[in-house]
Amino acid sequence: MKNIMVISSHSPFDNMHARDALDMALIFAAIDQNISWLFQGPAVLALKSEQAPHEMGIKNFLKSIKMLEIYDIDQVYVCQSALDLYQLTATELSIDVQIVNTEQQRQLITQQDHIVTL
């Protein structure tokens, strides 16, 4: 089993970056790898609750993010300074996450075998 981390850094509806990251996290979980997902920069906005992507013609993949735990993805990390920049607090997020500072993010990176940025 490998430690694999997906790093998301694009805003949620910018092309299909967030959906590609979701698919990648799900597939590594499905084949029993130790997967974690780090939300950085504007990617943290994908976790904001009460969005209606279908209003802009976009499939509501945010629903799947809410079910990450069911798919055995429980290591979800969110960059503290990104939350600050976009004026979001933990209570406004759609799921329970671990909020991490940059030092904690560097430690998480150190532990990984593979890292993919999407």
């Binding site: 805003s11 509806f13 910018d14 504007p42 906005l45 904001k48 969005q51 279908h54 802009m56 976009y86």
Partner: protein, 88 residues
């Protein structure tokens, strides 16, 4: 209005210093798409600042005090009344 500057991404994902230096005080800016999430970063760039209402609703957010929320028809009128627009 001479120039309407149109943004559709968060400011941090652009070469922000270069772009913002090209906005004149009498220009306007319009936020659409993903830029709407980042009104706070864009708030002091021009005297007239707009955000597309449709794009706010889809993201479950509201207009920042320094931005006027406009409809799609007002969007067309805004561009029609400006000499030209720049999509960054």
């Amino acid at each position: 209005m001479n120039t309407l500057h149109i943004f559709s991404k968060p400011l941090s994902t652009l070469n922000s210093i270069a772009v913002t230096s090209l906005i004149s005080e009498t220009d306007g800016i319009l936020l659409m798409g993903e830029a709407c999430f980042d009104q706070a970063s864009y708030q002091n760039l021009a005297s007239k600042q707009y955000v597309l209402s449709h794009c706010l609703v889809a993201r479950g957010i509201t207009a920042h005090p320094s931005f006027s929320s406009i409809s799609d028809v007002e969007w067309v009128n805004l561009i029609d009344n400006a000499k030209k627009s720049i999509t960054w």
